[in-house]
């Protein structure tokens, strides 16, 4: 890709090299590597669930209800004698999908709105940020419950509902970064050379903004998994017999004394996943920005503000 002028190349951040650096730093971070390994394993197991499960997840064994772990059922069974190990595997499919797609949606929405606000001039900025303010102030749980109640519960609706309450942080973050980066020399230079908004956004702003955004989204994944569990707790989970982690955890709560193995296994699955994503998020933050603590960001950019607060925890749990 031909750069318009040599001078600018030296001023612009080294795109790919920067990414490679970040990756190298991430891989040197032990907890993050552990997190990545665990999530990869979980992801693969979820992906291959129909092949690596032990029994089909909805098969009922009424002769072995609420039985503890055994050779026949590695992690025991639930009230209907269904294999807990298989249900966790298949639950991971739903929960990880919700976690990842939710954040993908939030990321897309947030980056778009943030860029548009940051680059679109004063009026667009003011309009978009006011809308973001309203969305940000709206109680998340209410929004999720209302959307899911009106349109019915489905995986897509859950993703939309959770995604729609997650994008505001990212939008504020992107906009703040864009506003401050616009004053940087290399952006000013590119603009002086007549680069379009789109070009500036793509080549100069996005690479710089994506670091903190990806960190935020990574922290958002476990939050989304928690949000699904919270909705399941109040009766707005996916319809049976789909196993989701939210359902497995809430059901295990009801059978806590009768079948502690259900609580232990489902909570561990959720806990390990959440921890892994936290490790990865921490690692990414260090990797993208080795010297800079969150402190540098101005309040409006609010990098760590709500980033890691699970939505369900913020106002519900």
């Amino acid at each position: 890709m031909a750069e318009p002028a040599g001078a600018i190349v030296t001023l612009a951040p080294p795109d790919r090299g920067w990414l490679r650096d970040a990756l190298r730093r991430l891989l040197r971070n032990r907890p993050a590597v552990v997190g990545i390994v665990i999530i990869t394993i979980f992801g693969l197991m979820a992906l291959l669930a129909p092949w690596v499960d032990h029994h089909p997840p909805t098969d009922q064994h009424l002769d072995a209800t609420l039985s503890g772990p055994s050779a026949r059922f590695w992690l025991g069974t639930d009230q209907l004698g269904r294999d807990q190990y298989s249900r966790l595997l298949h639950g991971a499919r739903v929960s990880l999908t919700i976690g990842v797609l939710t954040q993908a949606l939030a990321l897309t929405l947030g980056v778009t709105v943030g860029l548009a606000a940051g680059l679109g001039g004063r009026r667009a900025d003011s309009l978009l940020m006011r809308a973001t303010d309203v969305a940000y102030s709206f109680p998340d749980l209410l929004m999720m419950i209302l959307l899911v109640s009106i349109f019915g519960v489905s995986t897509i609706m859950l993703i939309l509902a959770i995604g729609l309450v997650s994008w505001t942080t990212i939008a504020r973050l992107v906009r703040g970064q864009v506003l401050s980066l616009q004053e940087e020399d290399y952006v000013l230079a590119a603009r002086a050379l007549g680069a379009s908004n789109w070009r500036i956004a793509r080549h100069h702003l996005l690479p710089n903004v994506m670091g903190p955004v990806i960190v935020t989204a990574t922290f958002g994944i476990p939050a989304a998994i928690f949000a699904e569990a919270a909705l399941a707790f109040i009766g707005l989970g996916l319809p049976p017999p789909t196993p989701t982690w939210g359902r497995l955890v809430t059901d295990s709560f009801n059978a806590m004394f009768a079948a502690p193995h259900l609580v232990v296994t489902s909570c561990l699955a959720v806990a390990i996943t959440m921890m892994s994503f936290t490790f990865i998020g921490d690692g990414l933050r260090d990797a993208f920005d080795p010297r800079t603590p969150p402190r540098r960001s101005l309040p409006d950019t609010a990098a760590p503000r709500v980033a890691a607060v699970p939505h369900e925890e913020r106002k519900a749990a």
């Binding site: 730093r25 040197r28 971070n29 032990r30 907890p31 552990v34 909805t58 009922q60 009424l62 209800t65 009230q79 209907l80 004698g81 109640s149 019915g152 519960v153 109040i234 009766g235 707005l236 989970g237 319809p239 049976p240 017999p241 359902r247 809430t250 059901d251 709560f253 009801n254 059978a255 806590m256 004394f257 009768a258 079948a259 502690p260 609580v263 232990v264 909570c267 561990l268 806990a271 390990i272 921890m275 490790f279 921490d282 690692g283 260090d286 080795p290 010297r291």
Partner: protein, 564 residues
């Protein structure tokens, strides 16, 4: 400057399982053992501490509709009649049961003349007179008062009631009059054999016109609320607790021994169980998942109630407009396995709709459509869907809660195994569910019916009569309708019940609904709670006879009392 904290993972992974394992052991260890040896003497503190799951929406007996509201209203008010321990209707404020022989019921069955006790008083000492009943009955149909409740419809046989409730009638047109201070006369438009039973229920309580007019909406607040029952409302802390104290001026024969009834509002069953184990409650429900743990426990009480869970079909659309399909469903579901797996063995498999203990119920009804997979698939072939081939898409709509989810999954699997058909499950939250149910917006659903009073009238004509008040299934059967009409005015109880039995058999043979099981109450009650009399019609266990309850002293120190 990367974080190099290496073994982050190890200790934290251990914490959770260790904690849970420890607590599970602790939980198993913490049941009972805290109440000491019970003596035969009365405890000095006659306080009975109960748990309710939610805040009562109202203390107005004419609006009380859900178990906690009903249970409290029953303690504060007494109507003309009440029940004895066998659920026979007996006089309360009335001096005797009206009959044709004693002139209480006119020969045509339309006029009831009821004389009242002269010693009955309100909790402020004012005598209870016939005028208090007259006022209450007029208010019951008032669109601004009782006409907003669930129960006034029970009493619309009273002349003028329908006009007042539904049309342009006025309070004056309601034909309930006081012949003198202690004689009440009720005029009906048609004979209704169940009237005395209905008059024993909470919506037929007398009310104080002067106080309701004086306080307006605030008349049900503690201090303002004056009833004529054995207990008086003394404290209401919303979402926390309700305290009733015994009414020192109570006039009835069932003077309470208890001095205080405390209702703690605890939403979660499992938290209530722990409160019970900690000595904060004297009675609590055993959570479903814990049934087996408390089976045979010395503090367990378990008894049948008048309730039936069933698959309910929408009869307007295929495939459930076809009786063969419904019969196939009935024969495809293993009720015994259901009760064992999901209800922890607590409850009885159901084949008929009228629960055991209900007058007119017969155990043989529906047995010929019991679980039999082979017969089920034959029925399904006869319906034109051999091995489930070509069976339309069916959605099973349920109210989302953990037990219903499991139930739906169980039934889904039974139908798959035994009939080869796949149904979808749609689990929706409460208000949406009932909105859809009452609108008939479902194909098949799962719901129970609980008796308001022990008579098939409440179960058959109201549910399955073409014009029945609760016929949301759009069921219509001319033969059954004819029987319902016949039973409605039959004053001879034996003949009435025989008619209902015939109708019941028709409806079950047709599988208008598919009964699955009759639940049971499964509670823990402290050993020092004596003379708790339960009936199949309790809203909360023992609530018809709370006056009988006595708290015995224990040799050890009495259990730690709950928070103030």
């Amino acid at each position: 400057m990367s974080d190099t904290t290496r073994s982050w993972l190890r200790p934290s992974f251990l914490i959770l399982p260790i904690l849970i394992a420890f607590v599970a052991i602790a939980a198993a260890a913490c049941s009972s053992g805290d109440s000491g040896v019970v003596t035969n003497d009365l405890a000095p503190n006659q306080e009975f501490r109960l748990r309710i799951a939610g805040d009562p929406s109202t203390f107005d007996p004419q609006l009380a509709s859900f178990s906690e509201e009903i249970s409290i209203a029953k303690q504060i008010f007494r109507g003309l009649f009440t029940y004895d321990e066998e659920l026979n209707v007996v006089p309360s404020v009335a001096t005797q049961m009206p009959t044709k022989e004693n002139g209480g019921i006119s020969d045509d069955g339309l006029t009831y003349t009821i004389s009242l006790r002269t010693d009955a008083t309100w909790s402020d000492g004012v005598p209870v007179t016939a005028n208090d009943f007259v006022y209450a009955f007029k208010r019951l149909f008032d669109p601004d008062a009782g006409g907003q409740g669930y129960y006034f419809d029970f009493y619309t046989a009273i002349d003028g009631a329908e006009a007042f409730a539904y049309e342009d009638g006025t309070a004056e047109s309601v034909a309930v009059v006081a012949l003198d201070d202690y004689t009440l006369q009720i005029q009906l438009t048609h004979a209704q054999p169940t009237l005395p039973t209905l008059l024993a229920l909470w919506p037929a309580s007398p009310l104080r016109q002067d106080l309701i007019e004086q306080y307006g909406d605030a008349w049900t607040e503690p201090g303002n609320l004056i009833g004529n029952g054995p207990f008086v409302l003394t404290e209401y802390s919303p979402e926390q607790q309700i305290v009733l104290e015994s009414n020192p001026l109570y006039w009835g024969d069932d003077q309470p021994t208890l001095s205080k009834l405390v209702y703690r509002i605890i939403p979660e069953d499992s938290a209530a169980l722990i409160a019970y184990q900690n000595g904060e409650l004297d009675m609590t429900v055993i959570p479903l998942a814990d049934s087996s743990r408390f089976q045979g426990n010395s503090e367990q009480i378990r008894y049948a109630e008048l309730e039936t869970f069933a698959l309910q079909y929408n009869h307007l659309a295929p495939p459930f407009d076809n009786a063969l399909v419904r019969q196939a469903f009935s024969r495809a579901i293993d009720r015994e396995a259901y009760v064992q797996a999901i209800r922890g063995g607590v409850g009885e498999p159901a084949h008929g709709w009228l629960p055991p203990g209900m007058p007119g119920a017969s155990p043989s009804v529906g047995m010929d459509l019991n679980f039999d997979p082979e017969a089920a698939s034959i029925l399904l072939s006869q319906a034109g869907y051999t091995d489930g081939e070509g069976f339309p898409n069916v959605t099973f709509t349920i109210l989302a809660d953990p037990t219903n989810n499991l139930t739906a999954e169980f039934i889904q699997e039974q139908l798959k195994q035994n009939l080869g058909i796949n149904i979808d499950i749609d689990a929706v939250e409460e208000s949406t569910f009932y909105d859809r149910y009452f609108e008939g917006d479902f194909q098949v659903t799962w719901l129970s019916w609980f008796a308001d009073y022990a008579d098939p009238e409440n179960w058959l004509p109201q549910q399955f009569g073409t014009d029945g008040a609760f016929n949301v299934l759009n069921y219509s059967n001319a033969e059954a309708d004819a029987l319902f009409e016949q039973a409605a005015t039959e004053l001879d109880q034996t003949k009435r019940l025989a008619i209902y039995d015939r109708a019941h058999r028709i409806i079950i043979a047709d599988q208008a609904i598919t009964p699955i099981f009759h639940p049971e109450r499964n509670y823990l009650v402290k050993a020092y709670v004596s003379d708790l009399i339960t009936t199949a019609l309790d809203a909360e266990p023992g609530d018809w006879f709370v006056s009988n309850v006595r708290i015995l002293s224990t040799t050890d120190a009495p259990p730690a009392s709950g928070p103030e």
